[in-house]
């Protein structure tokens, strides 16, 4: 059996992507017909359990697994399980990530290192370890969740934006290395999306940015999910980063 893996797939944007892919699975779309959906979570097992129950209730073959990208042993254990359980990976959606906003000049080195280790290095490590299984399931798809901050930069998000910029670069690097192997590698860069990650921000943190967008409002997780799902089919879109930011005018 082949898998579709969504890291951080039980909440926010990841959950919306999982729901959208579940719809495609139920509709028996060729790229995901007969696959098993694997969603990962870092710490919130209760959320994961509830979401998994909802997927099962819809008749979706799915499982939820713990994965902490900042831990090499956690990544290796996860990869080991996937290798034992699946013959290939049809799609890897690298959605998991965290943020730690604040002034860069006073931010502790440990906090900077943690974000780099999780968002960028952990994601790349997971992808590299899973590549053999992805190559076994072509046409296959890899999507990285970048961020508008990784394209334009944002005050208060230096390490976060750096990691997301790095993922945009890794999208290009990986696509170039894989060449014509039938693996489609792209990234999506959301702007302000109404998730837990931005729920606690003061309006002054996002209103000036929203006021600089064509649409003038926050996006919804499903807006990102639709774009990700559009990338899960063979085509001429490769090594690129699609902005889902309401038309930030820069």
């Amino acid at each position: 059996m082949k898998a579709v893996i969504i890291t951080g797939g039980t909440r926010g944007i990841g959950r919306a992507i999982a729901d959208a892919i579940a719809d495609k699975m139920l509709a028996k779309e060729p790229e995901v017909d007969g696959v098993r959906l694997v969603v990962t979570y870092r710490s919130q097992a209760v959320h994961a359990k509830a979401f998994l129950a909802a997927l099962h209730a819809r008749g979706v073959a799915a499982e939820a697994l713990s994965l902490d990208l900042s831990s090499i042993s956690s990544v290796e254990s996860f990869v080991c399980y996937v290798r034992k359980s699946f013959s290939g990976i049809r799609a890897l959606i690298n959605n998991a990530g965290s943020t730690d906003d604040g002034s860069f000049l006073t931010k502790a080195d440990d906090a900077i290192d943690r974000l780099v280790g999780t968002n960028l290095i952990g994601t790349i490590r997971l992808t590299e370890l899973l590549l053999p299984l992805i190559k076994d399931a072509t046409p296959a798809f890899i999507v990285f969740m970048a961020s508008a901050a990784g394209i334009y930069g944002k005050a208060g998000q230096v390490p976060y934006a750096t990691t997301k910029g790095g993922l945009i670069g890794y999208t290009q690097l990986l696509a170039r290395r894989l060449k014509k192997q039938g693996i489609f590698v792209n990234a999506v860069a959301p702007g302000f999306i109404a998730t837990d990650m931005v729920a606690n921000l003061a309006p002054m943190m996002f209103e000036p940015t929203l006021n600089s967008t064509s649409l003038g409002s926050m996006g919804e997780p499903v807006d990102v999910a639709h774009v990700v799902c559009g990338l899960l089919k063979p085509g001429y879109v490769q090594a690129t980063t699609i902005k889902v930011d309401g038309g930030f005018l820069r």
Binding site: L120, E128, G153, K154, G156, V158, T162, G166, I168, L173
Partner: protein, 223 residues
């Protein structure tokens, strides 16, 4: 004027150092360590230096030299990840403590130097898209945070200088280089560095958070 060049071992840095010294500037250099050495401690370096009562007015962080992602990932991906992590953390550390150092004085200018990774599709120059895009994002963010301290942070995305490949290799690649210029002409490191030198000496620098392409034809700097 006092300059610091981080990772001054590559052809671009060497040429820049030559030009700055000929112009009677004082240039200090810091080499990024090899992967098996202990990490460079920028915090201690800048703290110790500040005790002299002096402040760098220009810091160049040269990422054009010493790493080639496409090669190391093709040879040993896990080793490449280790090295990449270290390079990204060192770049952030240099930016953080360099900007801090300048913010505590009268400000200054930080320049991050990256090698355009697209030209390496045609010649055997280093290709570091992960580092480049990480650095582009970092520079744009940091610039927004430190402008009010009169610290200006910019990034040059430099086409590989002529010295990166021999003339036979450039000739062999000429058809591939048409997207950059119908008769692509690589620039020498010395010529490229004239621009870096010029920017660093501007009396009033009006640019910060910029991604500045430098070289013949089109350089990627935006998505």
């Amino acid at each position: 004027m006092l300059y610091l060049i981080v990772n001054g071992g590559g052809v671009i840095s060497k040429s820049l150092i030559d030009q700055l010294e000929k112009a009677s500037h004082e240039v200090h250099t810091l080499r990024l360590p090899n992967v098996d050495d202990s990490a460079l401690d920028f915090k201690s370096y800048f703290e110790t230096f500040a005790k002299s009562g002096r402040c760098y007015k220009n810091i160049f962080i040269d990422l054009t030299h010493g790493f080639n992602e496409i090669n190391v990932f093709n040879n040993d991906a896990l080793k490449a990840i280790f090295e990449l992590e270290r390079r990204i953390k060192e770049m952030l550390s240099a930016l953080k403590y360099g900007a801090q150092h300048m913010a505590r004085s009268d400000g200054g200018r930080i320049w991050v130097l990256c090698l355009d990774h697209s030209v390496s599709m045609s010649i055997g120059s280093a290709s570091n898209p992960v580092t480049n895009y990480a650095a582009m994002a970092a520079v744009q963010c940091v610039a927004k945070e430190v402008m009010h301290f009169d610290v200006m942070v910019n990034l040059f995305l430099i086409h590989p200088p002529r010295e990166e490949a021999d003339s036979a290799e450039w000739r062999k690649a000429k058809n591939n280089l048409h997207p950059y210029g119908l008769k692509y002409k690589p620039q020498s490191a010395a010529h490229l560095c004239e621009t870096l030198h010029l920017y660093s000496e501007l009396k009033n620098l009006t640019t910060t958070g910029a991604l500045i392409p430098l070289g013949s034809g089109i350089a990627i700097a935006n998505i």
